[in-house]
Symmetry: C2
């Protein structure tokens, strides 16, 4: 028998979660409830048992019985809360369930008087086998004796096998044969913030920036910016993300609105990194010193905030590397260093790195820089344009950093084509910006939310930023305040990670003509905002944002990624989805179910019928149940079909808490 | 630099064709044109070159340049005709196309007067590099000299680079950098008949069976059945498939219409294999001797037909194994051998094999039997109910047989759930019965045909039988002669393999009440058919079937699997698809394009508009072209939108040959 089949005795196939092509481990984050699945089947009519064998990073092994899902697709599943950071190993074990198979046949044949003695004899043999495997069990011993007593009525003998205590004992130690084990797979669990968190982006130079009487700007500093932190914490954010904090080049510095002729007072783009004052390991003198930065980190920590900095691997022509390491750039035949361009467009203020001339030198230096900031207390990096650097480099860097510092989180700002965007997530980025800002209609959102929560969830953690300094979509430009509510509500509830760039709460919606960016973009100038005045005047979204983050913190279902289900509505602009977390996985022990109903047309009031599948949150389809709108505190009685009216000019979104029946 | 990234310098991902999880090699058949694909991309704006490196079973290596398909999905493809049986190895090689990248930039910048000297210098360096790599080339040497001549007009210098001869030379030996090679994958090419052929099934005992004057039947024999072969060949079939030809058990023998009480003259089901006269390696004495069987094989070969026999691994209670090898069955506690059952249903005439008691013994015996028939000249086995035996067993058996006899074809009759059906194909079955008989509406067929020709084509070769002794669908029972035409036309044109069970051409459409099987089913009795009388009376589909097989033999596009494209029609019952084979792959050197338009509602005449994508067969969308209906010989001028009228009571299906423009 030379050839050893690759197929096991019981076929076990298509394990999930798994990365495409299984090149890297699947991903999850601490606290995530992960659906494990496999396709398991066998020839013939015997019933099967399927277990998930799961080994935690601590070496603890657990067995979770899987159940069949769907009809006729031979797909088995069990949900498990992964609660320890590190590398988990899982495999699937399948076996012929000899007891269940016999029971199924005996329950049909014995009452029908078919093969009665034979069926009871086989049952007796199985019970004797169970009793032998568990000699302590009186229940099994007695059942084995009863079923073997030929003088008793056959139905009574069968009854002994049906005793729930017998079922329970055998459930613990199944009567298995043809046991088959799949190959093991890895799932890497990262810290919670890798998967779930609320992010707020601001430019530290703007926070506390002032104009002097003669019209010159004085930059904000880490000290003045720290004063903004309590308000950010108050809104319920977890992370403050700062654009690059390094010295900014002066060669070809950009002026206001991306103009080519900066005036002497113009601060330049923080992404044009490097000047005589230093490069990627230096702090812009206008912002302060390393000590000031450390004080800012401390102030953030006191406010319960983590700080993310920007890792933008590009240089201004004034960056120290340009003279110290010209081999890290591309030198042209005329001796000049190549600036960034996409002909006919030129970006003369930026020298891209060349990763191929001295790959080891450049890798070593970038790893040194990342370690330097980690040493200062930074553990989140938002990576600028990772898709313009070799994918191979990121795989290497993230592996090196995360091996040494498993808590470090990298967020990929890869607004690019799908193959690159998804591959960056696959090689190790903890989080990714997505196409969310360009998914605004109901059908676009239904498809997008299903993709992020199911199709890509094994490797991609979306961070749904509603805006960025580079993105002010048409939808926000022309959708009025309702658009700002709609997008924030969807981002905050559909994804466990979402983000907002300062000014969103002030409804800043004027674009530079012909662009999808804010006019007078903060990338090129200071921007002093009076948040308090706007709030006092009732012209701020901050209270709504605060409420969204409060709802997120009170509802663990919203901090899960893979539990989103889309439901149907009759209206082409009413989007409906729910998120549910079973009580087994919540601290309170109560289940948590949220239904979001959003009118995604910000210019209308709409009435429609919403059709729910309440089995998705453990409610029988025949039951009605109370829901509470966490925005308006209104209560409704809901069921399978529900009338909804959403006026975008009043409240465009219902965020409904479902009052689950006890024990759910 | 401890960690070695798994990602290559240029990412090359998602190679196709490939089996799910890449557990077994992908499949193709001799003569098949296979689309090879990969997702290839890189950071930045440089242009890429992508090659398929393909090694044939002869060890010949070839390089095929791939081209980008779709927009923004970074997917590359090249189609290759695989013309040698055996194991092919392929990998994908990607490289930075330095020349194309420069050319793209130079063509924008030089005419615009931007960086002119620099661009021409770089171009000169590239041409010098090309000339150095190919010192024989005068074209390159001259172009390098011209572009370097500073006294010339810059546009003239650029012109030297644009010379088509330069392009051609560099195309042959590209200026590549960052060359990256994927891991190799295997694609196993089997003989043509594994993928493409027309099958006809008959019961040899019926062919020539006669009723004597006293009402008893005299069985047909191999000698009488051989007289039917010329007619089968005449209809254009390639394979004659015979139900089991072994001795039939008498215990619990089934009578007519699957009744439990066979009368003495009832022949029994050929699938109840084994009697005192022998088992799986014996021939039913009523059919003749081994010599008679050999003569039948010879007669078939003379008619250009191959013979497929049935491999039905189950036994009647009278099979010799029951006494010689009781360990190959399941013995119950009462000492009896378990018959097949699915409680409450019992199949007492069948003992299923138990593959777990003595796996080596049973495998050895079955391999011996298969080898025995191969030794007699059989090289096609239609496998009965493979899904009731361990998948692992089939993987082993097919590997052993095909290693020794690569030409042997196994057809899986797995009418079962998808996981098992697809897995049987994956572990090695050359062909599979499918869900075709239950896909009758337009939308069902569109989805089904797309699945078989694209989604599953890497491992599953469909054989579209229109009926079997077990399957007479409602559609055929009630659809009249039109239904028979529609189903045959779709099966014969949509799939390179199709099949028909005798009686189909006679429109046999009466079912046993409450079943989807023919009444007076040939499985349980003799059936003498007068094909010639039906044909003479114009009540036979044989001329239509003959025409279908003739069209197949004249149109190589129809013997391909992966070239099917569905097109749109406005009518809910008008199904449209096309098949195209480029002239590079045909013997004549002319392209071959067929459009099938079928009215799948057999009770109606329908008029609608059909919308074609003529780029699918290499025709510009603005062109009109002539099509000829190969059924009616009518000609039409077609284009993007076409009026169609199909009266099911006249001709329900157009099979249109496209008159391709010269050179296609």
């Amino acid at each position: 028998m030379a050839y050893e089949p690759k197929m096991g005795r019981i076929p076990i196939r298509d394990l999930s979660p798994q990365q495409p092509e299984n090149t890297w481990p699947a991903k999850a984050y601490v606290g995530e409830v992960v659906p494990f699945q496999a396709t398991v089947f066998k020839e013939g009519h015997d019933l099967l048992g399927v277990d998930l064998l799961l080994t935690s990073p601590n070496g603890l092994q657990a067995k979770h019985r899987m159940h069949e899902v769907g009809i006729g697709i031979d797909r088995w599943q069990v949900d498990v809360l992964l609660d320890v950071q590190g590398s988990w190993i899982y495999s699937i074990q399948a076996w012929n369930d000899d007891w269940a198979t016999w029971l199924h046949n005996a329950e049909i044949k014995v009452p029908a008087g078919v093969d009665v003695q034979l069926m009871l004899t086989i049952g007796g043999q199985l019970l004797a086998r169970a009793a032998k495997a568990d000699p302590e069990s009186r229940v099994l011993k007695e059942a084995a004796a009863t079923i073997a007593t030929r003088s008793l009525d056959p139905l009574l003998r069968l009854q002994a096998a049906l005793d729930p205590r017998v079922t329970a004992e055998i459930e613990r130690q199944p009567l298995a044969s043809l046991q088959t084990l799949s190959l093991p797979l890895e799932i890497r669990v990262e810290r919670s913030l890798a998967g779930a968190g609320s992010w707020y982006e601001f430019f530290p130079r703007s926070e506390g920036a002032k104009r002097t009487k003669d019209g010159r700007w004085v930059s904000g500093t880490f000290r003045t910016a720290a004063r903004r932190l309590p308000a950010v914490a108050q809104m319920g954010f977890d992370v403050v993300y700062l654009p690059p904090i390094h010295p900014i080049g002066t060669s070809f510095r950009k002026g206001p609105n991306n103009t080519l002729d900066a005036a002497p007072g113009d601060p330049g783009s923080p992404w044009a990194i490097g000047s005589a004052e230093g490069g990627h390991d230096a702090i812009h003198p206008d912002l302060g010193t390393v000590d000031d930065f450390s004080a800012f980190l401390d102030a953030a920590a006191k406010n319960g905030l983590e700080v993310a900095i920007d890792l933008a691997l590009q240089c201004s022509p004034d960056h120290p590397w340009v003279t110290e390491h010209p081999e890290w750039f591309t030198t042209l035949p005329d001796g000049s260093i190549a600036y960034a361009e996409n002909p006919p467009k030129k970006y003369q203020d930026i020298y891209p790195l060349n990763f191929d001339n001295d790959p080891i030198g450049i890798r070593t230096e970038i790893l040194r820089i990342v370690r330097y900031w980690i040493g200062l207390g930074v553990s989140i990096f938002r990576v600028d344009n990772p898709h313009t650097k070799p994918l191979q480099f990121w795989e290497w860097l993230l592996h090196e950093v995360n091996t040494e510092f498993p808590d470090v989180v990298f967020l990929a700002e890869a607004f690019t084509r799908p193959a690159m965007l998804y591959s960056l997530a696959q090689v190790g980025f903890q989080q990714s910006y997505t196409y969310f800002t360009w998914r605004n209609s109901k059908t676009e959102l239904e498809e997008f939310l299903t993709e992020i929560s199911h199709e890509h969830a094994a490797y991609l953690r979306p961070n749904l930023f509603v805006n960025t300094p580079d993105i002010l979509t048409e939808y926000l430009q022309f959708g009025g305040p309702a658009a700002y509510k709609i997008r924030a509500a969807i981002a905050a509830t559909a994804s466990p990670s979402w983000g907002m760039y300062a000014g969103y709460e002030l409804y800043e919606n004027v674009a530079r003509p012909g662009s999808e960016e804010n006019i007078d973009n903060e990338k090129f100038e200071y921007k002093a905002r009076d948040y308090a005045a706007a709030e006092a005047a009732g012209r701020s979204l901050a209270p709504y944002v605060t409420l969204l983050n409060k709802i997120r913190s009170e509802h663990p279902a919203l901090r899960q990624l893979r539990n989103l289900d889309v439901h149907w509505s009759d209206d082409e602009a009413i989007l409906v989805y729910s998120k549910y977390l079973d009580g087994r996985y919540t601290r309170s022990g109560r289940g948590d179910a949220i239904i979001v109903v959003a009118n995604v047309d910000p210019h209308s009031a709409r009435e429609t019928t919403v059709y729910l599948d309440p089995t998705r949150f453990g409610i029988d389809p025949s039951e009605s149940f109370e829901v509470t709108d966490l925005i308006t505190r209104q209560k409704f009685i809901w069921g399978l079909q529900n009338f909804v009216r959403l006026d975008a000019f009043v409240e465009p979104v219902h965020i409904l808490r479902v009052e689950l029946p006890k024990g759910k």
